[in-house]
Structure formats: C-alpha cells, structure tokens
C-alpha cells in the first residue's frame, strides 16, 4: 500500500504541473491583451520608434 503514495504523488504532480502551466498561459494572454488594448495600432503618420 506504500506504493499507492507514489502513484498518488505522480498523478497529483503531473496535474498540478499541467494546470499550473495552463494558468500561466491564461495570465499571459490576459496581460498581452490588456497591453494591446492600451496601445493604439500604428498608423501611417507614426514614425519609427526611437
């Protein structure tokens, strides 16, 4: 029965890893969208960035 804890730990860590990565990606999407909305799209009048 001691081996059950290794089984439990393996599945728990795999799912925590996958869910953690998914949350990280979701946060990144949210942050990038927020930044994109705060920046206007470049127009013909805009010069190259300094």
């Amino acid at each position: 029965m001691q081996n059950f804890w290794y089984l439990f730990a393996a599945y728990t860590l795999v799912w925590l890893g996958l869910c953690g990565y998914l949350l990280y990606l979701a946060q990144e999407v949210r942050a990038l969208r927020r930044e994109l909305q705060s920046r206007p799209a470049p127009s013909a009048e805009d010069g190259p960035a300094a």
Partner: protein, 244 residues
C-alpha cells in the same frame, strides 16, 4: 488616421478565429478523452502482478513522453521550414512547441522519478534512458534561454532553429538507448518489431491516454501560438517599421 488609431486589429480582439477554435476543440477533446482515460486507468485496467498499483503511473508517464517527442518533432519541422523559407510563422510554431515540450519533459522526469523510487528504490540513476532524457530537457531549456537572451529576433530565430534541429537527434537515441545499452529502464512494450507486449485491456487504456495527452498538447500549443501572435503584434506596435 483617427480611424486607424481607434480600430483594433484582428489580433487585438483575438489571436485568430481559426486558432482559437482549434485550441477550444482540442481542449474539449482532451477533457473528454482524459476523463475516459482516467476511468480506464483506475477502474478498467488490471493491476500489474509484480509492481502493484504503482504500475498505473505507466499510463500517464508513457503518453507524456510520446507527446514530448511529438512537441520536439514539431520544433524540428518548424525550425527546418524556418531555415528554408525564412517565414516568421514557422519560427513561432517551433518556439511555441519547444516551451510545451519542455513542460511535458519535466513531467516525464518527475513522474518517472516517483515510479523509479517505488520500483527500483531510487529517485534517479544514471541509466542511458534517463540520462539521454535529461540531456533532451537541457537541450530545449538551452533553446528557450537562447531565445530569451539573444536580442535580435532574427538571429535568435536562426540560432535556435539550428539547436532545435540538432536537439531532435537525441530522440532516436532515447528510444534506442534501452536496446543499445544495458539499462534499468524497461525496453519498449508497444513500439516493438514483434508487436505490443501488453494485454489488450492495458493497451487500450494506454492508447486512450495517449489520445487525451495529444489533444491536451495541441490545445496548449494553440494557446501558446495565440500568445506568440499577440506578442508579435505588440512588438510591431512598439516599433513600427521605418517608412510606415
């Protein structure tokens, strides 16, 4: 011009309708098939006689390893096409898949280590299969670090494409390591010239888990591709090309 400034681009609204749909469908398929796979793993699959319940780590460890190989296969193809055609989208595909591949390989090593502790009595051994897998992990961590530290995006793409291609050569070595060298890690039980060495009820559960993990990989890849597309758009807004 005011019209240009006020109208958001397509990528500001969403990272692409087709890509978003692909990500959602792959995620939904992954959730359904993973539920079925977990039912198979914990209810339908028989308990292995020698190892006992801990052998069920096999049903997540092997699909994670296969999808990690798939992820690095996508890096290989994306890198090769980038070097041949110099289109940014191939580089975006390669670097997105590399990150997902590193996450999957990390989970392969963690799950394998726990399984190893239970059946071999050690968390880690410098066995050919384990060592070559660790080398694979280091190669693609180096790939991601290269991308982060080389300032010029074109140079970063070129250098990492070369590393992405060379790094992929480790995968056949990992697969063959248990045949070429005497290892603690067992030999392949599915991809063998004599056919799978698993009973059908174990094989079906493994295949279901493999399908589920592939769907999850595709949805993570879709999400990461969306992020990279948004990032490219943002970079273009920060520094619009001269003459625009």
């Amino acid at each position: 011009m005011a019209q240009t400034l006020s109208r958001p681009t397509a990528s500001a609204r969403a990272p692409g309708g087709g890509l978003a749909l692909f990500t959602t469908l792959a995620g939904a398929a992954g959730a359904v098939t993973m539920t079925l796979a977990l039912y198979g793993i914990f209810v339908l699959a028989p308990t292995e006689r020698t190892q006992g319940v801990v052998q069920r780590v096999f049903y997540i460890h092997v699909p994670l390893a296969w999808t990690a190989y798939l992820a690095f296969g996508v890096v290989f193809v994306g890198s090769l096409l980038y070097l041949l055609r110099r289109r940014r989208r191939w580089d975006v595909l390669a670097r997105s898949s590399a990150e997902v591949g590193v996450v999957l390989t990390t989970l392969v090593i963690v799950s394998g280590s726990l399984w190893g502790k239970a059946v071999w009595g050690t968390w880690w051994t410098w066995d050919a299969r384990l060592t070559s897998t660790l080398v694979l992990w280091f190669i693609y961590v180096a790939y991601l670090m290269l991308r982060a530290y080389v300032g010029d995006p074109d140079r970063a793409a070129r250098y990492s494409a070369v590393l992405g291609i060379v790094g992929f050569l480790d995968i056949p070595i990992i697969h063959m390591s248990v045949i070429w060298w005497r290892t603690l890690h067992p030999e392949p039980v599915v991809l063998r010239s004599e056919g799978p060495a698993l009973p059908p009820e174990m094989l079906w559960v493994l295949l279901m888990s493999l399908v589920a993990m592939t769907c999850l990989y595709l949805s993570l890849l879709g999400l990461k591709l969306g992020i990279e597309t948004l990032r490219e758009d943002l970079r273009a807004r920060r520094s619009p090309p001269a003459g625009q």
